[in-house]
Subunit: 556 residues, 2 copies
């Protein structure tokens, strides 16, 4: 008879998944729980809700309504949290400006997102000054000040609509929020690749609510190395402009947990807040954790209740070990701007919890287990599903109710992202029989030879173990018969007595082929020597340039 | 500019909220965890998934496809759990037949739901035999057998399509499930009122998935008297035909928890399973808990890890106390057939956990705190919102993404249920400043006088404390000036020395009016005496009959 949709009586209300609904629970559960901004200000959840109402009222007065865009340039603050709610609750779109972009890129995103109002921390006002008369969509600018800025209004060429706290004071303590479609856009922000302009990704109310519930279930419902619940004390150390601080502020607000917003990341302030509030949950990139772990001050702080989820790039085993030794409960999370972001968490299954910490390291450093509602598969170059055997590699493709449905105003790259109805992460990985994902490569660094994928990372690992090798990179070069063939480029150590030959290095692969660790077609055809490798502006090996260099060298 | 919906690139997949997706997580998280049926059979989650595929294949072979209806008549079993998934995953509708209805009511629901296939436990086959030739929509009947039934096929006038296990054996171990709209109907079942035919309520995939996530968050994420996680051992003691066993089988399956299905409820078997599997979570009506708590056998079982959520009717404080004394972690949940069902759980907030158990009783017996995504308000007779002050009473009205959007094929009662865009529960309650709901009455038992609501329960409590009162009921009788006025009817204790007068009993109210506990307009106009009170077939006081009796008596 064909699919039967549920009938709805005329007066029935179907309760759209709106961000507003995330606030109902903490207001019942823990209205007096506190939210802290550095050592400067403290608010209760009741006050948070009142401030959200006031911000909504103030923005309405500035002309913001459904479909308008409000941008924020701020460090991690209670103000940012207020904007996370108030702006989407108005039916407007929150643009979280990445303040680490180059000024021209930042200006590009302001104009591309067509920001109507910008809320700007005084620290970034000089930057915004520089964009004067080049932001045609921007109608009003609101200033946000910290204790360090004093009371005086800063010098600016821009006409300010007012100061954030003053505007809130003037606005009513209650606001009536309209109901609307859960597919309304709630947030937009930009992700940068190695080439081209920043790309805008965007998320609806529905997507953010489901991301909150899915992530929260993964964090709280499964027996693992953490025991997160509403008693958590949360402090983000991933900027709130970066994929909603990985969505945690929404999840922790629903929980009614104590929250600490640290402002600009300063090691002394971070450690002080960690210690003073006995923080139990944070997330950050490996660099930040490394900075904290290797600081002198860390030794005087008890971090034995602190869980830290690492994302952004892989958690190195050495750093994981060092953090565990300090009592820090560290493990991996995985996602990207396009995915809202959380896809996996390296939750240890109960049988792994009995392992000594040293043996837990390899599991904590895995990319992790997919969180509820995430479908995660490995596809080969032809879109064929690869088995979950811990060996077969494929590109990670996903389906889950919280993926950007395209790049803003970029139909070509949108279709490329979603080809075949799966979101393509561009990451190459294996999935083992226990369900743990392990990313091995970016797909653009993978070498496709004879229809098979060879991991450049794996080959580089083999070569890097030879004492004569200082730096190494493996790239694929075009090959008429095989499509691509792997070629290694090595920078030899200069302090060695004798020289190393191409044959010496190629010999490293023979035993691996023999024992089946490596396929014979994976062995590099050539090992070239260079005095140095080309690098990008941030110090990573530039494989694009290297590929051209190698192709040229082989053609000569 | 008006609301801005997120644009979707053509190839984008928006991941509908389908019941199928609840299975992804346990298959990754705990594929070898077990599901038990009495002491008869054990399956792993991997096997559960295979059996779901086989059931789907078998049903497809019987002609079941999208929009068809498959009914189940069974005790709580792994087969029922398989049907909870396989039937909706096919895009078909699962009708969970209430086997406690009268035969004629049951037949009514089979015909009203237009069941295509019925899966029937041999215990109910004679009943179904009696419906032969009176179920025009039913095309096939599948027999389900327990160990007690032996191997022989039972006598029946019906033509059987086969036996459940045999059909599963013949079906393929894998099944390709189509994707479809999340608003597809997944389940239907019937609720009975005091008058009229049973009413059909129905739930979509989206509603069941959101109910699962919302309930699971309430159960696992908030610090309270239980610490439920994937290590839970779950055994339902609410029938699976009754509002999806309150939705717990879906939630516990997503968790990958150990599950025990007890079949027909037999006290000895229940206690044996509780003990043998060290069950940590169940739910039931007060009657069942009372039966277990007062059994002789309970003394020999350690139930100190057992949490029991009580629903269906209020948890009496005496029963709560008795259960707590046995070490049982008992508390209230609230919902109804129309609400999927969970609306509230009596989670104790952290500050209440320090109270001695005796003082926790009043909190554990409250109706509870609304779970995430539930909006719950009190409306007076005019639909005006009442304050949450612990005193102002109103009808509980709700909005949440998992409410039946009407009664099946009953437009009049559908609109009545949803008048004003809120689902009307028919329960009268207060909400205190901490957010706890406390139901005081069914709205039909509330007395509306001079535009105010008076709780019959409250007045009955006052009168029942007098030593001369054996039974009491308070009803409203029509009054030209006030709309209604309260009148009490008392059955005096026959073993008392002296008689009790109307004035004696009315005098009980004076101090309560004086100290402000009771409004003066709430004091009953009359107290009548009777030898007995009219009762319904299940032994409840029949207030409908009593109202007529009182009106008649006062008119005489």
């Amino acid at each position: 008879m064909g699919l039967r949709l549920i009938p709805r009586t005329q007066s029935a209300h179907d309760a759209p998944l709106l961000i507003h609904r995330l606030l109902d629970t903490p207001l019942r559960q823990s209205p007096d729980q506190t939210i802290h901004y550095r050592d400067e200000r403290t608010f209760t959840y009741k006050q948070l809700y009142e401030r959200i109402c006031r911000l909504a009222g103030a923005l309405s007065k500035l002309g913001i309504g459904q479909g308008d865009t409000v941008a924020v340039m701020d460090w991690d603050s209670n103000r940012y949290l207020e904007a996370f709610f108030a702006v989407p609750m108005l039916g407007a779109v929150l643009h979280t400006i990445n303040v680490r972009l180059s000024p021209e890129q930042m200006l590009y995103t302001i104009n591309h997102a067509k920001d109507d109002v910008i809320l700007v921390n005084a620290d970034f006002l000089p930057l915004l000054d520089g964009f004067k008369d080049r932001m045609p969509s921007v109608k009003r600018v609101v200033l946000m000040r910290d204790a360090a800025h004093g009371d005086a209004m800063p010098e600016t060429a821009l006409e300010l609509a007012g100061e954030y706290e003053a505007l809130l004071d003037e606005a009513p303590a209650e606001h009536h929020f309209e109901l609307f479609d859960e597919n309304a856009m709630a947030t937009v922000f930009y992700t940068t690749g190695t080439t081209g302009d920043p790309k805008g990704v965007y998320f609806s109310h529905r997507q953010l609510v489901l991301h909150t519930l899915g992530t929260l279930t993964a964090l709280t419902a499964f027996r693992c190395q953490t025991n997160i619940d509403s008693g958590a004390v949360y402090m983000p150390i991933t900027p709130m402009f970066h994929v909603h601080a990985w969505g945690f502020p929404y999840a922790m607000t629903l929980l009614g947990a104590k929250q600490i917003y640290p402002g600009r990341y300063e090691p002394a302030m971070l450690l002080r807040l960690l210690s003073e509030h006995d923080v139990t949950l944070s997330h950050c990139v490996p660099t930040i954790l490394h900075m904290l772990v290797s600081s002198e001050a860390v030794k005087s702080v008890d971090l034995s209740r602190w869980a830290v989820i690492i994302g952004g790039s892989a958690l190195p085993q050495g750093l994981c070990r060092a953090a565990l030794e300090l009592g820090i409960n560290v493990y991996t999370g995985y996602g990207m701007s396009e995915t809202c972001p959380v896809l996996t968490l390296a939750n240890l299954k109960p049988n792994l919890l009995d392992l000594p910490l040293a043996e837990q390291v390899q599991w904590r450093c895995r990319t992790g287990l997919a969180v509820p509602l995430v479908q995660l598969e490995l596809h080969d170059a032809n879109g064929a599903r690869q088995p979950h055997d811990g060996k077969s590699a494929g590109e990670v493709v996903v389906r889950t109710p919280w993926l950007t449905q395209g790049y803003l105003d970029d139909s070509e790259r949108s279709e490329q992202l979603w080809r075949g109805g799966w979101l393509h992460t561009g990451d190459v990985a294996t999935i083992d029989a226990e369900g743990y994902l392990q990313i091995t490569d970016r797909i653009k660094d993978v070498i496709k030879t004879g229809g098979e994928w060879v991991s450049s990372l794996e080959l580089e690992n083999v070569l890097s173990k030879h004492e004569a090798v200082s730096e190494v990179a493996v790239v694929g070069v075009a090959d008429e018969r095989w499509g691509e063939r792997p070629v290694a480029v090595v920078v030899p150590r200069i302090d060695l007595s004798g020289p190393v030959s191409e044959a010496d290095l190629k010999a490293l692969f023979a035993p691996l082929v023999e024992d089946g660790t490596l396929s014979s077609y994976a062995v590099p055809d050539r090992v070239l020597f260079r005095d140095q490798l080309p690098k990008t502006s941030v110090g990573k090996i530039d494989k694009k340039v290297l590929r051209q260099d190698v192709a040229q060298a082989l053609a000569d």
